[in-house]
């Protein structure tokens, strides 16, 4: 995995593109069990990230990830801002400029722990952690881009039968069951876009 400037710009465009393209879907998922603003909030955040191009891609990968995280924190406007933003910022703090898989495994582990702390949450509570944690396991076990993206999509699907414990959906109690968690869906979209763009190969 090499990340030159062109690849960094491609990565930013892919992340933003998938969120913007799926904004309506995310909003409709959130309307079912939340306050119906997830798609709009994430779109606002990633449009702000896009607006930082081309300069942001001039930065090193760690600095770029920190800048993306900070933009999301400041612009998203819901709890997803600090949660997703913290994930990016912690990745940025932990990764070297040209990461190998082991670096990515360690950095995602650190970022997931930061998200847990930020949301005072654990997997199994119908949140983005239910995607981040199983995907990180596939990454740690050497899965390629396809395996990682597939697990991200499956993990988001697996949130549908879960009972929401955290966030606005928890107000619905058992009525949260049967709907996919919007934050898990957006996490799976971001992961899918990232690994596809980076052409993640097995065991590299």
């Amino acid at each position: 995995m090499t990340l030159d400037r062109a690849n960094r710009e491609k990565l930013v465009r892919a992340l933003a593109g998938t969120v913007i393209e799926h904004a309506d879907e995310l909003t409709s998922l959130d309307r079912a069990i939340g306050d119906g603003d997830h798609g709009l909030n994430m779109k606002r955040g990633f449009e702000a990230v896009l607006a930082t191009l081309p300069d942001i891609a001039d930065k090193s990968l760690p600095e770029m990830l920190k800048a993306i995280g900070m933009t999301l924190v400041m612009k998203v406007g819901g709890a997803s801002g600090p949660l997703v933003g913290t994930f990016f910022m912690e990745l940025g703090k932990a990764l070297p400029e040209q990461p190998a898989r082991a670096d990515l495994v360690a950095a995602t582990d650190r970022a997931i722990n930061a998200v847990k702390a930020r949301g005072r949450s654990e997997p199994g509570q119908k949140t983005l952690l239910d995607v981040l944690v199983p995907v990180q396991t596939v990454l740690a076990n050497g899965g390629d881009a396809r395996a990682i993206a597939a697990e991200a999509a499956r993990a988001a699907d697996r949130t549908a039968p879960m009972l929401a414990i955290r966030g606005r959906a928890s107000f619905l109690g058992e009525r949260s069951i049967g709907h996919m968690d919007p934050g898990s869906r957006s996490a799976s979209l971001l992961i899918g876009a990232a690994v596809t763009t980076l052409e993640f190969e097995a065991n590299t």
Binding site: N41, R44, M74, G81, P82
Partner: protein, 133 residues
């Protein structure tokens, strides 16, 4: 987003709705006048329902007191964004800002009343949170 000069604990009100935040601040003012530094913020950066870290940071700045600032929040995102804002403060201020686990309107009024008597940040937080107990 008004404030006042006082050594008492400052109060910040954070709601998804700017109307609720402003209304709660009006109720606080009615109780304590200008004895307590007070600021409110609400809405996302586009003015829709939501909360935003920049607005919260600004409100903390407005309501700043050497005695500290108690932040009252409504729903999840307001809490998460407030905790994020606190972490982004300069280190010497971070320990003097607390997010209270209390209902936003009642908590703000009780916290401000406690503060107006010169109570410590810990006492202000405790009073607001006792409403839940």
């Amino acid at each position: 987003m008004s404030s006042s000069n006082s050594a008492n604990v400052g109060i910040v009100i954070v709601s998804h709705s700017p109307k609720i935040a402003e209304g709660a601040a009006d109720m606080v003012r009615q109780m304590v006048g200008s004895a307590v530094p007070l600021a409110w913020t609400g809405g996302d950066v586009d003015g829709g329902l939501g909360t935003n870290v920049a607005g919260i940071l600004e409100a903390i700045e407005t309501a700043w007191s050497p005695a500290g600032v108690a932040v009252l929040v409504d729903l999840g995102g307001a809490e998460t964004n407030s905790e994020m804002a606190v972490e982004m403060l300069a280190e010497d201020r971070r320990a003097r800002v607390v997010v209270c686990n209390a209902p936003v309107v009642e908590g703000a009024v009780i916290a401000a009343t406690e503060s107006s008597g010169g109570s410590s940040l810990a006492a202000v937080k405790r009073s607001a949170e006792e409403f839940y107990a």
